[in-house]
């Protein structure tokens, strides 16, 4: 810090730049609450996620140590910043950490107030007001920005939880958000997302490598893509196919993209645009290619009969869900695809989905906290990618993650306690699909890919056919491989 003092009268930032080695390496001392490297609180959710009663107790104990005092004052006074400040004053060294933890507590309290045994919408409202004072979607620490989106999501639940109308509001929320965003906003955010994190590439490349391995000796390949988005996944597959050394050279690739109604990112128009782009790209690298689209029903149900099949082609079903830039897809729609796939006898099914924590019986609050944990890991990982560019990250958060958070919470709220979200990989196994091993090359590729980003990422092989991408101790994304029960392996 001496250097900082010397430079005190120079430009502000120089004093910060000189601090390069004093990273607060916090270790996991506390059993229940640890701090990750970036100073965000990471609560040990496992120890909290058992029963609801524990949540009650925890909240009450937190309320006792002063939070309650705050909340009470909120009800009576307009500004209680004095009390907050005095509380904070005692915690100067852990100022940031304390603030982060307080936000977590408040969020949990709000969630509990919204849905707990002692439901109180009024209390929830009060807590959310307080939260809104403390958070901002554009400023501050990861926790503060994250809490902003969770607060907003909870607010939406609070206001919308009035029956059918609320349901409509909730499900259309994320969409509404998304359409608001200027297209270039989304592109910029997408580009940034790809540069600061490996999520997209991990999903795409793991699937592509598996596809390549599955079709080594085939001349014709047909891929049915559930959610093609911009089609970027296929650029690298085409490159690999066009230059493959073993097997018949330059096999013909056919892609059928599923399109949906409306005007969103998978409307017919957008899909056609994507198709044109892919055709142009394929031509540029000399890859024989054709593009089709297949319209989903109005309720987004997939009908296998709508897909044109050609004899002798190797069929692959590609199902990317939950990548950070993806829109939400209703479970029924996904189920219709996967069960429909079974009748089509695909050579390979590639599935990428989010990896969520164990579904205890914590009800809404438990799932809420798990979601908070999940997204705080994502935020931290993005920060590791672009540590100084909080505004760039704020853009990605605003365009992609915020809507995902809102949608995710809405779904949890709607299905409180229900075992709705069983991972699709489990579903596939239950329905009869057979696992396909992740190859050494695939695993190796994933490790190399992560190495390009940050040491905090890790890849695990949870099962023979499943690769998990995680940030620090939190598993985030799962890529799994399957084949039709009737295919001869």
């Amino acid at each position: 810090m001496a250097m900082a003092i010397d430079n005190a009268f120079e430009v502000d930032f120089s004093s910060y730049s000189s601090i390069t080695t004093t990273t607060t390496t916090t270790t996991d001392d506390d059993p229940a609450c640890t701090w990750n490297d970036w100073g965000s609180p990471v609560v040990d959710w496992d120890s909290l996620s058992s029963e609801r009663d524990e949540f009650q107790d925890l909240i009450e104990s937190m309320m006792d140590d002063g939070t309650e005092l705050e909340l009470a004052r909120v009800g009576h006074e307009t500004s209680n910043s004095v009390s907050t400040d005095t509380m904070v004053a005692h915690q100067e060294t852990n100022g940031e950490d304390f603030k982060g933890l307080r936000l977590v507590h408040l969020l949990m309290a709000a969630a509990e107030a919204l849905t707990g045994a002692n439901k109180s919408r009024e209390l929830a409202r009060v807590i959310l007001v307080r939260l809104k004072e403390l958070v901002s979607p554009n400023d501050g620490t990861n926790m503060e920005r994250l809490a902003a989106y969770f607060t907003e999501a909870l607010q939406g639940l609070l206001e919308g939880s009035g029956g059918g109308h609320g349901k409509h509001l909730i499900t259309s929320g994320p969409q509404h958000h998304r359409n608001e965003h200027h297209q270039t906003d989304m592109l910029a955010a997408f580009q940034l997302l790809q540069d600061m994190s490996p999520y997209v590439k991990f999903g795409h490349f793991t699937a592509n490598q598996a596809i390549l391995e599955a079709v080594t000796h085939d001349r014709r390949i047909h891929i049915v893509d559930f959610d093609i988005m911009e089609g970027i996944q296929w650029a690298s597959l085409m490159q690999a196919l066009a230059s493959r050394k073993d097997g018949p050279p330059t096999p013909h690739l056919r892609i059928t993209a599923l399109s949906r109604g409306g005007s969103g990112r998978s409307s017919i128009g957008t899909i056609q645009e994507t198709g044109r782009r892919l055709v142009a790209f394929a031509a540029s690298i000399g890859q024989p290619f054709s593009f089709h689209q297949c319209r989903l029903d109005s309720d987004e149900t997939f009908r296998p009969s709508a897909v044109k099949l050609v004899r002798g082609e190797a069929l692959v079903i590609n199902c990317m869900l939950h990548l950070p830039h993806f829109s939400y897809r209703a479970p029924d729609s996904v189920a219709s695809l996967l069960s429909g796939a079974k009748t089509l006898n695909p050579r390979l099914v590639t599935l990428v989905e989010e990896e969520i924590g164990p579904i205890g019986d914590g009800g809404f609050v438990g799932r809420f906290m798990d979601s908070l944990h999940h997204y705080s890991a994502v935020y931290d990982s993005l920060e590791a990618g672009f540590p100084m560019q909080s505004r760039a990250r704020a853009l990605v958060e605003r365009v992609f993650l915020g809507p995902q958070i809102a949608g995710s919470l809405a779904r949890i709220y709607r299905t409180q306690g229900e075992e709705e979200s069983c991972p699709w990989s489990k579903w596939l196994a239950a329905v009869g699909f057979k696992p396909v091993n992740i190859s050494f090359a695939n695993h190796c590729q994933a490790k190399l890919l992560l190495g390009l980003f940050n040491d905090g990422y890790r890849v695990e092989e949870l099962a023979n056919n499943r690769l998990i991408l995680g940030w620090k101790s939190r598993r985030l994304l799962s890529a799994s491989l399957w084949t039709s029960p009737d295919t001869e392996l």
């Binding site: 502000d12 910060y16 490297d37 906003d185 540590p387 100084m388 505004r391 050494f440 190796c444 190399l448």
Partner: protein
Amino acid sequence: MFQPKKPSTMNSHDRSMCVQGDSGLVLTTDPKPRLRWTVELHERFVDAVTQLGGPDKATPKTIMRVMGVKGLTLYHLKSHLQKFRLGKQPHKEFNDHSIKEASALDLQRNAASSSGMMARSMNEMQMEVQRRLHEQLEVQRHLQLRIEAQGKYMQSILEKACQTLAGENLAAGGYKGIGNQDMGAMKDFGPLNFPPFQDLNIYGGDQLDLQHNMDRPSLDGFMPNNDNICLGKKRPSPYGGSGKSPLMWSDELRLQDLGTAPSCLGPQDDPFKTDIAPPSIDINTDLDSISEIYEAKPVLSSDGMGEKKFEASPKLERPPSRRAAVQTERMNPMINSGSVAQGRNSPFG
């Protein structure tokens, strides 16, 4: 400085440093300089000995004359000749440098002959390891190509969006200048995809000269329209202030929810912003978020990374982030507010 264990044996565990003299002799730098019998030197020695009729016929004096190597003394030759006469096994005489130079295969052969079975499985293991390494290299190479392909594709998307945007802006009228500059911003994101694969060491060197590599395929291959107005000039150092401050002006045109005010470009004397070509992406986005990527560089460069990189590659971010992230991130809002206070009228400072 380590003392050599046995002055007479120059074995591979010797730790003293070596310097190479003018004559090409490799001498150690410990108190008693000893001569390192490198492969070349030994070969010359053997040649000389052979010329003179064999180790028994040759004498240190004659060898010295025949070899004609400056700095070689009788003392050196005497001891070496003695060993040569005794062992006649050149490999033993070599020090660690020579061993490195001697083919690994020779060593393996020696080992194999002496410990048969074990060596064979060692060989197998070695082959297995080599096979894995080879496969890893293959994967690495493929990964690089795939990332490139994705980048190229992304490029086409951005270009298309550029054009659309330019069209829109021109139509909107009065924003002509902005249209181009927005395209510039979009284009600028092209290379953002590529830096990561540099770390795959495809360019071979141990020390990746990142700057140098940045000029190569990433810009050439994937920015076909280098003279496109979008790019401005091809920049070896994108920070070479073309002073694209006008890019920031587009801020004025749309108030965005982030509320960044127009005058953010005002302070060209802002230490962050000098010499940075701010690639604003879009009039609606918070340009600052993007320019921040490049803002950060001056701050980080002080820790010796020296990367005045335009493209904020994830890898390039890494080392600084590991060290400084906690502190810098916490301070980041303050840094922002610092610069904000200087020039912008941002509501959140």
